[in-house]
Amino acid sequence: MLLAENKNLIDLQNIGVFRAGRWLVRGIDLCVRSGEIVTIIGPNGSGKSTTAKTAIGVIKPDEGQVMRTDGLKVGYVPQKLAVSAAMPLTVRRLMKLGGGQRRAEIDAMLAMTGVSHVSDQQVHFLSGGEFQRVLLARAMLGKPQLLVLDEPVVGVDFAGSLELYQLITKVRDETGCGVLLISHDLHVVMAQTDTVICLNSHVCCRGTPELVAENPEYLKLFGKTAAQDLAIYTHHHDHTHLADGRVVHSHDGSVCQHDDHGNEKGK
């Protein structure tokens, strides 16, 4: 299709990164179009982060070509980020560094990722999950054409992960941006992912989540049991959990205490 909204944001052709005497990744082809969610999965050390960093230009490849749309705006959430405790930094100030200057925009984005209650706190006091949400909000604030999320749900509990994945999908639907997502968490691959790329220094297999789950290469890499665990979440809860433990009911939008509804286990 040659629709404008489906143009390639990034196109990696036969990428190889050579460091310290070995190829971290080699022969990677990867393409993300606007409005598309591409998920890279693979074991530890398989080159997922390297691939993502090459895609956005943080790492220069030793082989192959990286093509990016001119003036591509990237929102990036790195895998690990430790802000030095020596730097005082409130969540709000960190958000401003994302390019959004208007208070209302910042508040809206923090509310969207469910962390408005921490907006005036120091980032050093946030829990892992809260910090991930803040970083995600910060990345989205600059209205990027491409969101690159390196393990965005690390440190977020199970329900929170699902909620964040839903949020990412929502952002994609609303803004039409492309999303490059990295996960080592085989248990939760988004149903909304258009393409899953299974990586182990090279591309083992690629396709829709359903196809990849049945691919022999994938089964070899992760083992049959793990593969059976590859859950593709399509079901909907009648409520969602807020970051502070409260619950929103989707039918009427009411917010209540978690303990107030007793039937959630019997779904």
């Binding site: 460091r19 310290a20 005497g21 960093k53 956005i56 230009g57 943080v58 990237v74 929102g75 990036y76 790195p78 980020l81 802000v83 030095s84 020596a86 730097m87 005082p88 930094l89 409130t90 100030r93 960190l94 560094l97 390019g99 209650h117 005036d120 706190q121 120091q122 006091f125 600059g142 690159v148 502070d244 433990g245 409260r246 205490q257 303990d259």
Partner: protein, 280 residues
């Protein structure tokens, strides 16, 4: 009535504190204290070389500091890519003290010159001329303007180099700018505090400001205020007790830093929203 030389030292020192505050914050945030120390120690080699070639000490110091900074950047970059034999810590240790030793050796070899080594090592208020004052203020305006221009990208690069790179903020360029600004600051600070103590003037006021700040900008401004207090207190102390200016300023800074650690000054604890189940 205060002597003319003292007024000059005071005015120059205050100017220096204003530059050192924000710059010192970055030195702390980016863990560059030892890096700054290495650059400062190499300044003595700059002094020696400028005397050898009969050029202004300022330019010699600036050139040598910058050279050492670039050398360190190259060594560290190469080290991270390939197999590294030495940690950057060891590299800094080697460079820092070699540069200082080399400077001392070169100065003593030039037996035809009478050089007040101690003055360069620990600062000498008597040596501050009108010209030096002008240099400090002109250099200061330049440094602060540059720092303001690169403030945003430097902040993002300090939080995460990868994010800065991904968002097109050119963190390497910002880092280089910071090096140049440090070199300029060291060159203009050498007469007031001396090469051994320049890093202290950068680090101590910023560290003392940390506890009272909730944003990077607040910390930078507060570091300026504390730096000015240290300079004024230190210089008056040096006049009163007849002690060298550099160490006196640093000791005054240390006193402020120790005061900042006192529990009396602890701010209200970070507000945590009350647990929801308390509403029941």
């Amino acid at each position: 009535m205060l002597d003319d030389f003292f007024i000059r030292a005071l005015v120059a020192g205050i100017g220096l504190a204003v530059i050192a505050g924000p710059l010192g914050c970055f030195v702390i945030w980016r863990r560059m204290a030892y890096f700054g120390d290495t650059m400062a120690h190499s300044a003595l080699l700059g002094v020696a070389l400028s005397m050898l070639f009969a050029i202004d000490v300022l330019w010699g110091v600036f050139a040598v500091c910058l050279l050492v900074a670039l050398l360190l950047l190259v060594l560290q970059a190469r080290g991270s890519a390939g197999a590294r034999l030495f940690s950057s810590d060891a590299l800094l240790g080697i460079l820092s003290h070699s540069a200082l030793a080399l400077g001392l050796v070169v100065v003593s070899l030039m037996s035809w010159l009478r050089v007040d080594i101690l003055g360069f090592l620990i600062g000498d208020v008597l040596a501050v001329s009108r010209y030096d004052m002008m240099v400090i203020y002109a250099g200061g305006v330049l440094v602060l303007a540059c720092l303001g221009w690169f403030w945003h990208s430097l902040l993002v690069a300090t939080i995460s180099e990868d994010i800065a790179e991904a968002e097109g903020l050119k963190p390497k360029q910002a880092e280089l700018v910071l090096m140049v600004l440090l070199a300029v600051t060291i060159a203009i600070a050498i007469k007031i505090v001396g090469v051994l103590l320049i890093t202290a003037l950068l680090v101590i006021p910023a560290a003392a400001a940390r506890r009272f700040s909730s944003t990077p900008e607040a910390m930078a401004i507060l570091a300026v205020v504390i730096g000015v207090i240290a300079v004024v207190g230190g210089l008056f102390g040096s006049l009163h007790f007849d002690t060298p200016s550099g160490p006196s300023i640093v000791v005054a800074g240390l006193v402020v830093f120790c005061l900042s650690l006192m529990p009396v000054f602890s701010k209200a604890p970070i507000s945590v929203p009350a647990p929801e189940n308390e509403e029941k």
